[in-house]
């Protein structure tokens, strides 16, 4: 059981990355982004592309860091992939959602458009990489470390937790201490007042998409490192992402973190008595329960 919880925390931290991005987009732009799962997929595959094609072309060696399953290639590909998917998210906004905003379209059209974008991204990945599962490092043995208290965890996974912690801490500082971060929080509170104060809300929206996309990409890459890559990987995360976001209260970054960890642990623990393929269903049941019992989430109910 302890192992399930540990792995649940690892999985949950991946969900958190996506959920934080989703909650930012949902909270600031009021947009239920159905393409968010596919941002994860896009991140994973873009890192694959960079690590295997681009960086080998440049001549970076394909070695590993110690007992980790990746080396310099992934270390370089990681941030670039985050940036790439951040750009993809911004481009989607410019090409699709901004036009809908200008026309004053209702929220359902945005959601529908993001659903279309989700399929478009997924189809592109299917076209470029096919339907088989892929690995960053095929055939690698990944032994687990034995830590005190009988905890078994892979070195990869320890690093993943550190990466997630780093990203979340960076985001925290960004939102709390920088002018743009504060403006994003202000816009999430009250977009009309932000406009009245002269804040350029289009720029805020651009930043939100960039950060949301980049975080989702990071989650996808980590999942790819830990498990595998598959064109459906992100879509399978969509329900857990929304469940985590809603559980943690929409717009609340720390709630998304807690929500992600909770969903991750719940999903893993459920494999003790359910088939692993039912994990998305577990997340879904939790989401329905939250919506019935406390739809405003853990931190909700205050000054909205």
């Amino acid at each position: 059981m302890a192992e399930l919880v540990i792995y649940g925390i690892v999985l949950g931290s991946i969900i958190s990355l996506g959920a934080i991005g989703l909650t930012l987009v949902y909270g600031i732009i009021r947009f239920a982004n159905f393409a968010h799962g596919d941002f994860l997929t896009a991140g994973a595959y873009s890192a694959l592309f960079m690590a295997t094609v681009v960086l080998s072309w440049i001549g970076i060696p394909d070695s590993n860091f110690g007992s980790l399953s990746f080396g310099w290639r992934m270390a370089i590909a990681f941030p670039f992939s985050m940036a790439a998917v951040g750009c993809v998210a911004i481009v989607l906004d410019r090409v699709l959602y901004r036009k809908l905003r200008q026309k004053g379209s209702g929220p359902v059209l945005f959601a529908m458009s993001s659903l279309g974008a989700a399929f478009i991204i997924r189809m592109i990945i299917f076209i470029l990489w096919g339907a088989d599962s892929l690995f960053y490092k095929p055939g690698m043995l990944r032994p687990a470390l034995e830590l005190p208290l009988g905890i078994k965890i892979r070195p990869d996974q320890i690093l993943m937790l550190l990466v997630v912690l780093f990203l979340i801490t960076t985001l925290h500082f960004f939102l709390q201490k920088t002018k743009m971060g504060k403006a994003m929080r202000a816009t999430a509170d009250n977009m009309e007042l932000a406009l009245i104060s002269g804040i350029d809300t289009e720029r805020i929206i651009t930043w939100t998409w960039g950060i949301g996309g980049a975080l989702a990409a990071a989650g996808g890459i980590l999942y790819g490192i830990d498990v595998q890559l598959h064109p459906h990987m992100g879509w399978n995360f969509l329900i857990p992402l929304f469940a985590a976001t809603i559980l943690g209260t929409i717009g609340n970054m720390y709630g998304a973190l807690i929500g992600g960890l909770t969903i991750g642990i719940a999903q893993q623990v459920s494999t003790a008595f359910l088939l692993p393929t039912y994990k998305p269903a577990v997340a879904f049941i939790i989401m329905i329960l939250i919506l019935l019992i406390r739809p405003e989430g853990i931190f909700g109910g205050s000054s909205r």
Partner: protein, 234 residues
């Protein structure tokens, strides 16, 4: 000297117009109060001046510049600030952060201005790190005004500043408004509390059914018997 004027304003949110050929003039450093019954279009007038609403007809002029139809983010750069009636603060941000957001478009060092605003509202300085959502109604209203003042506007538009406040806070807010005005900021105040609003006004406008009914010096409007009967009963 007339600093802001709106002439022949016809405007509305949908096909139905709320304002019909409305005019208003503000002299520099003046308090202009706009009173009238509910639905008269007072808030709509402010929104039209500030660019939230585009008038179907008429124009708005700041000093000599035509600012009709400009969007709020441009208007705020010209020197007009607006305090909405509701949802006029960022609740999850601290007092300090709310004020910082007021100064968002400034690239320079505005710490002196921040001090000046805190001087106007000392209680905000004490609690600057508190989240605004936790403050009382009167304190929130002060934050709302403080945010709008961070850009040192020439004209401040206030939409029902005393709305929802307990009577003792109402006088406090009106005192604050006078203090702010004393620093040289012209103001247009839309108010339900017509008597108080006219008492401190240099000039008063009465709006009803989207049209000008009367405008005169503040005390003249206050003394007008018919106005008193129709609109100052409460």
């Amino acid at each position: 000297m007339i600093i802001l004027k709106a002439e022949d304003i016809t405007a509305g949110y949908t096909e139905v117009d709320i304002l019909h050929d409305v005019h208003i003039r503000v002299r520099s450093g003046e308090i202009v109060s706009v009173i009238g019954p509910n639905g008269a279009g007072k808030s709509t007038l402010l929104k039209t001046i500030f660019g939230i609403l585009k008038p179907r007809n008429g124009n708005v002029t700041l000093k000599d510049e035509d600012i009709t139809g400009l969007k709020p983010d441009r208007i705020v750069r010209k020197g007009i600030s607006y305090v909405p009636q509701v949802d006029n603060v960022f609740p999850s941000l601290t007092i300090q952060e709310n004020l910082e957001m007021g100064a968002f478009i400034r690239d320079d060092d505005y710490s002196q201005r921040l001090d000046e605003v805190y001087d106007l509202f000392p209680i905000l300085r004490e609690r600057s790190k508190q989240k605004v959502g936790q403050l009382s109604g009167g304190q929130r209203q002060m934050v709302a005004m403080g945010r709008a003042l961070m850009l040192d506007p020439q004209v401040l538009l206030l939409d029902e500043p005393s709305a929802g406040l307990a009577p003792v806070l109402v006088s406090m807010i009106f005192e604050k408004i006078k203090e702010v005005n004393a620093t040289g900021v012209a103001m247009i105040i839309v108010e339900q509390n017509a008597r108080e609003a006219l008492k401190m006004a240099h000039h008063g406008y009465v709006l009803a059914m989207g049209k000008n009914v009367l405008d005169d010096k503040g005390e003249a409007v206050l003394a007008n018997e018919e106005i008193a009967r129709l609109y100052l009963g409460g």
